[in-house]
């Protein structure tokens, strides 16, 4: 394993004390102890999720990048193995040499075992343990979003700010999504409010909600995971009258149609909870009763760019454009969802 500090490659016997024999820096991981990644592999995960250190990311983003790396498999392998297995089976039919059934069966079994995963092969607790070790050895990864502790006394905002509003708002179902956008200055670049439906960030929530009501032409972009609850989010906002009735609401979140491109990083859904919360949607999208896909599985750079595209691709809201209804723009996250989003197996 190469040391990430001095780049010197070492054998297991040379690093029995867990340190690089050359520069004496400690290793965070040791493949011989069944760690799922090496230090250089984890470093590469950090580089990829941060687009070479230019984009900030959440722990969930880092988790999915690591999961992709751990679950990495060649797309060709199952086809090759299956082909060999079939060759043996056809040979049995042609030659009646039944002992060939054994290797044929074995190869087919291997092909099945090598099919791409659906669910992430790295659990979050495993990842959290890895990250804790990485932090203790190498420090907090650069670009990882770390929230500040709220001060005991809230920072007062200038009093005139409440009179103004935003052109746009992103409402999301997850704090991590709000953190990703805010820490990457999405609000600053796009004059865009960012809130979660459950009141995050707390320090800004009340004032921003009040400000959103100051703009009758507000454009709202609803961003959510592919979950049953996520599919409800936009309708919930309308029902709870978050905005003026003339605001335009566009659902740009993830749905079932996005899931195929992100096989390997799905999560098992909490079926019972989901079924109780949204039985109609469960009938429409039964896959979401079994699996979910988090927005954090998409690389931060792509999430930001795709959301920007979704916003700027919308027609301007005119005097009569606000219908109070909800429209969807699924294309932004699906049209070319591919390995460049962190959706394919070729990553890592």
């Amino acid at each position: 394993m190469k040391c990430i500090h001095c780049q010197v490659d070492t054998k297991l016997k040379d690093r029995q004390d867990g340190c690089c024999p050359h520069c004496k820096h400690a290793f965070a991981f040791e493949p011989a102890r069944n760690d799922k990644l090496t230090d250089p592999a984890f470093e590469m995960v950090i580089e990829r999720v941060s687009s070479l250190g230019t984009v900030r990311y959440t722990e969930r983003n880092l988790y999915y990048e690591a999961a992709r790396r751990v679950g990495r498999r060649s797309k060709a392998t199952p086809w090759v193995l299956g082909g060999i297995g079939l060759f043996f089976l056809v040979s049995v039919l042609l030659t009646t040499k039944y002992f060939l059934l054994i290797p044929g069966g074995l190869f087919l079994l291997l092909a099945i075992l090598n099919l791409p995963h659906q669910v992430a092969k790295l659990s979050y607790p495993e990842f959290a343990n890895m990250l804790a070790r990485w932090r203790s050895v190498h420090g907090t990864p650069k670009g990882l979003i770390v929230t500040r502790e709220a001060p005991a006394v809230a920072r007062p905002l200038p009093s005139d700010i409440q009179h103004y509003s935003f052109d746009r708002a992103v409402i999301t179902d997850r704090r991590e999504t709000a953190d990703l956008l805010l820490a990457n200055n999405f609000h600053f670049e796009n004059n865009c409010a960012v809130l979660t439906i459950d009141g995050y960030p707390e320090s800004a929530f009340d004032v921003v909600r009040a400000m959103l009501k100051n703009n009758p032409k507000l454009q709202v972009f609803v961003v959510h995971d592919a979950t049953l609850r996520g599919q409800w989010l936009a309708r919930e906002l309308v029902r709870n009258q978050w905005f003026q009735p003339t605001a335009r609401i566009v659902d740009v979140g993830l749905g079932v149609r996005h899931m195929q491109a992100f096989k390997g990083v799905w999560q098992a859904a909490e079926y019972g909870v989901a079924a109780m919360s949204a039985p109609e949607l469960l009938r429409e999208a039964p896959l979401l009763g079994k699996y979910t896909l988090e927005l954090a599985a998409i690389r931060p750079e792509q999430t930001i760019k795709r959301l920007f595209r979704a916003m700027t691709g919308q027609p301007e809201t005119g005097d009569d454009a606000g219908s109070g209804g909800v429209s969807s723009d699924w294309g932004s996250f699906s049209s070319d969802a591919s390995s460049s989003d962190g959706g394919g197996d070729s990553f890592g």
């Binding site: 770390v146 009179h163 609000h187 670049e189 930001i304």
Partner: protein, 579 residues
């Protein structure tokens, strides 16, 4: 148009002529005053109304004055002499676009002054015991023997702001007199003082929307009227609210107006709006094609006329507009610059969003000043990627860029919005928008008039409650209300289109390939030694930082670098020589 220069002290023979010669495109005549080791020079166009036709010489004083006052006066230098009795400026109501030099013969004191908002410029330098001044940097560079050495700290600021803010310019030793200031030079000492400072003072009477709207309407018209001097005028009409409003007031004043509008072909974003405004107001309209080829053709002239590096790509199309106005036989043009700064354009919004969401995360930019610096979208935060280690080591201490903003953004003012507006006017308005517009117009002998930067109108704008500027998310609300019956509703209530120069397409087009390779090719970048060629190569290939969502930033950044290299060649390497 016009310009002044001069010195106090011993200068090499012929210096005044060299300084006047450096701006020969600013006039066909010149006037000089020489007394002992004091010299004043004035270059101007003969026969233009409201302009001084010579240096004023009286028994007690000599005054050279470039530019015009608003309202116009018969003799601008006489007005300066009248208001500078005893050396103290009484400029409480003085407005216009002017720069003057006043020599008090008895007191042996030189006083320099600039207009309140900085349409006209003044630079000065002390060299070998002699004090030199001029309205353009290139005039000082013409002084024989003056050392010309670039100032990395000023370049560092340029790369953040896209213009050079403050008193320093990118040549060591040369200083700039700030707008609304005077400088008194006596017995070898220079003393600078301000006569004008915009301040926020909300007027309760203006909380009534109707009163506020009526006031803006009245003062806007008055601002235009004060700048009309009887000739046929041009209007640089973009189709946006600001230039259209100036058009409305020009029409109400009965001015004979011809509108000039930029045409970017299929990439024009406000063409239909400009057409609609011109037809609504009954103006003859001239379309000025602004293609990559045309901009490339005037690139060197633009750099020379700008005098300082300005990294906003709007300058070259402005130069082409000026050319069209000049060819149409005009000498005066109006523009709508200043509407965003005075009445609350879209630039306030990012700062409001940033203020609300500040301090949430570790390692983020924490100060209001840093957030403001980011809003310029040049190279703030990209220094590690762009600068070479050698350059980085010379740019000066941390905090020097923030220091330009602190006086405006600190909590001293009444409201957050107006603190941002004050910073915008004082930096972006007075040190970027106005001087560059003046220089582009003067490149063609035109006198530029910017009525939205009228002193009374601006002071009133800072008495308006801020919610009448940014009303919810509606920008420039009071100006929109003032214009809603005079202009079609699609002009008044349209959303801002933002940057309208398709600069990325221009600089990456074949028309610019030669200029780009010559100025920012690998060899050129290495020779200059300021920047890492790899970063610039990425921009030239159309690649920006992965977290950048807007393609136009590639062009804006390339243009900023291109202008800087061209400026260094013209002004540092060649001492301001013409192309």
């Amino acid at each position: 148009m016009s310009g002044i220069c001069g010195f106090v002290g011993d200068a090499p023979p012929g210096t005044l002529e060299l300084m006047l010669g450096a701006i020969d495109y600013r006039g066909d005549r010149q006037s000089t005053f020489v007394e002992g080791n004091v010299a004043l020079g004035y270059r101007f166009w003969g026969g233009r109304p409201s302009k001084a036709q010579a240096i004023l010489e009286r028994a007690d004083v000599a005054v050279a004055c470039a530019g015009t006052f608003a309202p116009a006066v018969a003799s601008p230098p006489a007005l300066v002499a009248e208001r500078l009795v005893g050396g103290a400026p009484r400029f409480d109501d003085v407005d216009g676009a002017f720069a003057f030099a006043h020599w008090d013969r008895a007191a042996h004191a030189l006083t320099l002054g600039r207009d309140p908002f900085g349409v006209r410029s003044l630079y000065y330098v002390e060299h070998a015991g002699t004090f030199y001044f001029a309205t353009e940097l290139k005039q000082l560079l013409a002084v024989p023997g003056l050392p010309v050495e670039m100032d990395p700290s000023a370049l560092h600021k340029y790369l953040t702001f896209s213009f050079v803010p403050g008193e320093a310019v990118p040549i060591r030793g040369i200083r700039r007199l700030l707008p609304g200031h005077t400088l008194r030079y006596q017995r070898g000492r220079a003393e600078v003082s301000a006569y004008f400072r915009l301040q926020e003072r909300t007027d309760e009477a203006l909380r009534d929307v109707k009163t506020a709207v009526r006031t803006v309407r009245r003062l806007g018209r008055q601002a235009v009227e004060r700048r009309l001097t009887g000739e046929k005028v041009g209007l640089f009409l973009s189709g946006g609210l600001d230039s259209s409003s100036v058009g409305v007031w020009l029409a109400k004043c009965g001015a004979d107006v011809r509108a000039f509008s930029r045409d970017f072909g299929h990439q024009s974003v406000e063409r239909e709006q400009a057409r609609l405004v011109a037809s609504t107001l009954g103006f003859e309209q001239i379309w000025v094609p602004a293609s990559g080829e045309r901009i490339a053709a005037v690139f060197d002239e633009v750099v020379h006329r700008l005098d300082l590096p300005f990294g906003d790509p709007v300058t070259a199309p402005q130069y082409l507009l000026g050319q069209a106005a000049h060819e149409a036989g005009l000498t005066v043009v109006f523009n709508g610059e200043g509407g965003d700064q005075l009445f609350g354009g879209w630039t306030s919004k990012p700062m409001i969003a940033a203020e609300i969401y500040a301090d949430l995360y570790e390692t983020e930019a924490t100060s209001r000043e840093e957030r403001y610096l980011k809003s310029y979208h040049r190279f703030y935060g990209l220094e590690d990627a762009l600068y070479t280690d050698d350059f980085k080591a010379t740019v000066g201490p941390a905090g020097q860029r923030r220091a330009h903003l602190t006086p405006y953004l600190a909590d001293a003012g009444e409201t957050f919005l107006n603190r941002i507006r004050l910073a915008d006017i004082s930096l972006k308005g007075s040190q970027n928008i106005l001087p560059r517009a003046e220089r582009m117009a003067n490149g063609w002998g035109l006198d530029v008039r910017t009525p939205l930067f009228d002193r009374v109108l601006a002071e009133t704008a800072f008495r308006l409650p801020p919610e009448l500027k940014l009303h919810g998310a509606c920008e420039k609300y009071v100006l929109k209300r003032a214009m809603r019956r005079a202009l079609p509703s699609e002009i008044v209530w349209q959303k801002k289109f933002g940057m309208s120069v398709p600069i990325t397409d221009f600089v990456l087009s074949p028309a610019f390939a030669g200029i780009l390779e010559d100025h920012l090719g690998d060899g050129a970048v290495r020779r200059r030694g300021l920047f890492q060629p790899e970063y610039i190569d990425g921009l030239r290939a159309g690649r920006d930082a992965p977290n950048e969502t807007r393609r136009r930033r590639v062009g804006e950044r390339l243009w900023t670098l291109l202008m800087l290299e061209a400026w260094l060649r013209r002004f540092v390497d060649a001492r301001g020589a013409r192309p």
